[in-house]
Symmetry: C2
Subunit: 694 residues, 2 copies
């Protein structure tokens, strides 16, 4: 019979299997994402038979050689858990190492043999043997620690002697072996020569604002006195308005010169009247392109002043729009015709989605032979604004119409030099493309939030976003409106609908944003019935907003204040939906532990001094009528006795309620306010944990 040549695998003697690491994105093809703090890691690890295993979590800053290491802890069903602190913004690496831990197996067995009181002598002799081998490894530096430690060696040899000493009572010898110090030394000098090492996984640690931010979009040109084009100076003067509402990112649509050719008029008219400003997304004219500033907005030094004032006086970061498309008047069209696709008649095709035509815009051609110079030029646009104006945040327009491979290359390079950069992907396109852009490096992403309205679709969507694998690479930024999107809900639902969508966006997602002043002024007029375009959209004209008319600035400020004061709302991972009988209402909790630990009293008990912050949100989805329902609490998961009472403080109305038991009654009149945002406290906890929420 034909038999294969005997080839033995190199890892033949590695008995431990490591699987199902978390976080892990596409089997390690992409880095996972985090912000400074504790990173929680889990994996499955097991060996054949009944032996114990040791499982260690290893991590390091990218570029370092030396790993830090900590033991992982067995959870259940072959699942192991560990954590490390990643405090610096930048890139880390992590992996798992696991091995058969004969010392732990021996210890487990020994305890059982002692109880059964059989065969103790030979087992003690085996223990002594294991100790002797470890002593030898300690002396020669051949164990896990990798360096000789004669001190540890002689200590272990001494213990070996006691454990192997047949003249002493068995109990005493076992106790000596079981001592904490011995366990630690046996771990330190474990034989890991046949340890299994998992593949190295990468982690991008972004600044905290990547995880928790409130964006405000405005058109600077609408901020001038009536009849005058607004400027960066006007934006600067407007900062208190934005800051008072509690936003910490101010996002400006493109600030570059606007093309003349096929300029769009008011309400997207195909031809602009003389003097009409055009769309800021039709970038480039004889006055410059993506690295220039539209002269009517001001100068580079005005922009720098604005960026500095926003950051230093108000804690607000200015975000710029990056839209890689050009007006026919853009300098690139003249200087780099090779970056555009020319048709047989010599013309460049407009951007189009047949039969729609965007006559004022040319796309760049990523299939050009000159792709290398194109990539470098596009990347340099980001670098320009980072270096010249101190910008750290960007919102990228339509990234899904540009080469995906380009984005991976570009964002990785940018983040290498500027790890504090935050890049938000505007992609409302197909969900898999949206996710792919996040995997490729985008720090935050637009979502389908605007079109998720019923309870089941909100629950389904945000459950997907708040759980692995998505939560490990995709950071949703939820916008109830944008200059492109005035949903029919907002067109018809009036104030209660604006408030409902505000609360949902701001509490379901740790990152959210609004386009103002349209949002706070409850602008609801569409250009056309059945469409989502604003009438008299600022995309095509300068608007003169009456900021003093009826508005929802105060509730916006309140909601942003609640977000800032409650760590529970500053991440997505702990989101849990609650049972609610009324289908027109939705309820969910979030709590302060961003690392994914479930909210339990026990978790807090293990961490004295931890002020676990539990927020319970109930929103009515009906903007017209008062709705009520029983809301069901997962008291068992929380570790709260059904007889205990809970104090609920509504942070919107400042009202206080006492709840007890599994189910409690909630009533919402949307014309008062369409939601409760409760901080939940345990009534009984009047000890040193008094100030804590739980």
């Amino acid at each position: 019979m034909a038999r294969n040549k005997t080839a033995f695998p190199r890892d033949a003697r590695r008995r431990v299997t490591i699987e199902a690491l978390e976080p892990e994105v596409d089997g390690g093809r992409f880095p996972a994402k985090a912000t400074p703090g504790e990173v929680r890691v889990e994996c499955d690890a097991f060996t054949d038979g009944h032996d114990s295993i040791g499982v260690a979590l290893l991590w390091r800053r990218e570029g370092r050689r030396q790993w830090s290491e900590a033991p992982m802890v067995f959870a259940y069903n072959d699942r192991w858990r560990g954590r490390f602190m990643a405090l610096e913004v930048g890139r880390y690496e992590y992996t798992i190492e696991a091995w058969v831990d004969h010392w732990a197996s021996w210890e487990n067995g020994m305890r059982k043999w002692l109880e059964a009181n059989i065969d103790v002598e030979v087992h003690l002799a085996m223990g002594a043997e294991l100790l002797e081998h470890a002593a030898a490894r300690a002396i020669h530096g051949t164990g896990a620690w990798g360096r000789p430690s004669p001190e540890d060696g002689s200590l272990l040899a001494e213990v070996a002697q006691v454990v192997g000493d047949e003249d002493r009572p068995a109990g005493e010898r076992a106790e000596r072996a079981f001592a904490d110090g011995v366990t630690a030394l046996m771990w330190k000098h474990a034989d890991r020569s046949e340890a299994t090492r998992y593949g190295i996984r990468r982690l991008v640690v972004d600044p905290e604002r990547a995880r928790f931010s409130a964006w405000y979009e405005l058109f600077p040109r609408s901020l001038g006195e009536p009849g005058r084009h607004g400027t960066f100076r006007d934006v600067e003067a407007h900062l208190p308005y934005v800051a008072d509402m509690g936003f910490d990112v101010l996002y400006l649509p493109p600030i570059h010169p606007i093309g003349h050719t096929h300029r769009k008029g008011k309400n997207n008219a195909r031809v602009a009247e003389p003097g009409e400003p055009g769309s800021p997304w039709a970038i480039g004219s004889e006055e410059g392109g993506h690295k220039s500033i539209h002269p009517e907005l001001g100068t580079l030094s005005d922009l720098k002043r604005l960026v500095r004032a926003a950051r230093e006086e108000y804690g607000i970061e200015v975000a710029l729009d990056v839209a890689f498309q050009v007006s026919p008047d853009h300098p690139w069209v003249r200087d780099h015709p090779e970056w555009f696709r020319h048709r047989p008649d010599g013309t460049i095709a407009y951007a189009e989605n047949p039969p729609k035509k965007y006559e004022d815009i040319y796309p760049v051609d990523f299939e050009t032979e000159a792709w290398e110079s194109l990539w470098l030029e596009l990347e340099s646009v980001f670098r320009h604004w980072i270096e010249k104006a101190g910008i750290r945040l960007f919102r990228v327009d339509n990234p899904h119409t540009k080469s995906l491979r380009f984005w991976e290359w570009c964002v990785e390079r940018l983040k290498k030099d500027h790890p504090d950069a935050i890049i938000l992907s505007e992609a409302f396109t197909r969900p898999k493309v949206m996710y792919r852009l996040a995997k490729l490096g985008y720090t935050q992403s637009y979502t389908y939030f605007a079109w998720r309205r019923g309870r089941w679709e909100l629950e389904e969507y945000f459950n997907e976003l708040a759980n692995p694998p998505v939560v490990d690479f995709f950071r949703p930024n939820a916008w109830p409106n944008t200059p492109d999107i005035l949903t029919d809900q907002l067109q018809t639902g009036a104030r209660p609908m604006f408030l409902q969508r505000l609360v949902l966006a701001a509490t379901l997602a740790a990152n959210y944003g609004i386009y103002g002043p349209a949002f706070e002024l409850m602008e609801s007029r569409p250009r056309e019935v059945g469409k989502e375009e604003y009438l008299d959209s600022e995309k095509y004209q300068i608007r003169d907003w009456d900021l003093d008319k009826d508005n929802i600035r105060d509730p916006i400020a309140r909601v942003n204040g609640i977000r800032n004061e409650n760590p529970a709302l500053q991440h997505n991972r702990s989101l849990r939906f609650l049972g609610v009988d009324n289908p027109d209402m939705i309820a969910y909790t979030k709590w302060s532990h961003a690392n994914g630990a479930p909210y339990t009293y026990r978790y807090l008990e293990e961490r004295p001094g931890d002020d676990g912050n539990l927020i319970l949100v109930v929103v009515s989805l009906d903007p017209w009528n008062t709705q009520s329902s029983m809301v069901h609490l997962p008291l068992d998961q929380w570790g709260v006795d059904p007889g205990e009472s809970l104090e609920l403080h509504d942070l919107i109305s400042d009202a206080r309620y006492v709840w007890s038991g599994w189910s409690n009654y909630v009533e919402i009149n949307p014309h008062a306010f369409p939601a409760h945002i409760f901080r939940v406290r345990r009534s009984g906890a009047r000890d040193e944990r008094d100030r804590a929420d739980f």
Copy 2:
């Protein structure tokens, strides 16, 4: 500012992303499993922007250079589907290739421009250009096809001329471009120089019995005349009994010499009385080890005769038990002490799970320095029985207590030489270890079926088993009992419970088995209350079964007959649970399309001549009382109008029912029979599809 040296990725210009391939096991680390027939493959594929893409499925036998190829078809949400035929037992490879398909983009655009009647001329010119380029590729053999085809080239050039001919009417030119033949040629000579190629994935195609089999386990030594040790000849004479019940695998516990040292007595007594036979799993004596036959069973030629008779006369395969553990009397202990772990006192530790001790068994030591010779010897045990006795099926005892890495090496080598081998893993251990063994190569696996009894746990478990990723690597073999497992349900539930568990095992899982005659004789006496061991277990003694007493042989034969006649029950992938109001009842469907396509009328309409076979099973989980319920049908998924009527033929009782509408009434008296197994037919279909079930 420090800037990285510009390094461009090698795949910079590949615009298409391929993700989420299915089947795929752990990102391709392990092969997926199939049996001869159609293999259905899915993936996500997309590019930036609005361009169309071409997606091709590639496959080949392992070892071949040349790929076969077929286009994949867009399904929804960037998901693409394709299939290929893998008709031979052995190993295949498959992958995906995808590229931006400018011709398809042009065709889509052209149709829209024609409708809108604008800019048609320049688009026709672009089409002509694409055709010319393809013609050049055809002539030079630089397109997808990879070989020159002057014929195709001149045909394409001719079409290019027509499409580019401004003197002809636009409609005529477009029609010429849209012709089927042109589409096919443009695909054949597509520019795939920047195609994205997914990683190569492996597929193991096992014989059909790997997917669909009914196992019967018996102890040959109990088949002798009263007082005489049974032999292979007795088993041969017993074949009609097994065949009449409809089983196609006859599995024998270890057939090797049994050790004397610490031999176990009746009911696992620590000391055997003289003349007691001991446990067949205590393998090895002075009469030989794993390659020897227990003399009282007969000779190698008796075994060969049995194997041949079973296969040729009854279509039954004989499966042997492989248990890599030894009695202290096994020749390996003497000849290869290096394969065992010796304790400080020189003894070898018994197998143990403290404080339990298995004094009649030594484990082998996979950490031995002599592991290479050990691995080879263990592997040679399989080869011995394959080559000497024509065995193709093995059931491996406790594989989870042997090195997992060993199994991957061993099974892969065995299957390379003997691709028709089927190896069943007996591992009731932790679920992740059970799954890992399947990934490592085991053809079939034991399950937790014996302990899944309530509706929700049956549904949860079998949903997990019938869906990706598990269904692609793990083939459940469901056993209601084994010599080790007499569940408390069987101890107390009497005949209705035996029948219930039979129907569940045989219809939920395509592979199932029973341990007889204990099962068909409804043996229900435990050794101890609260334990699952049989009283007077055949593991430790010879039993003299009265095969004529009250039994369930007939219903077993009926159920196996139904399985054989209905392709729906011959695989797991199409399992769907139905809504049932009564929690003491469970209902599910399976249908004949093993490739995972959902059961719909449309699917069948697309395949004239396909006799889709739909089976609906309703089981009462209550062995005592009559239960009834409404059962809810997914008529919308089936594409059946609620007004239509369905004919249900109960293949157990032969009764016929007419159902209509979403919900229908079922009543089950467990003392008559605890289940219905319906074949469902559409009443209306009296055309050429008459004989078909749908």
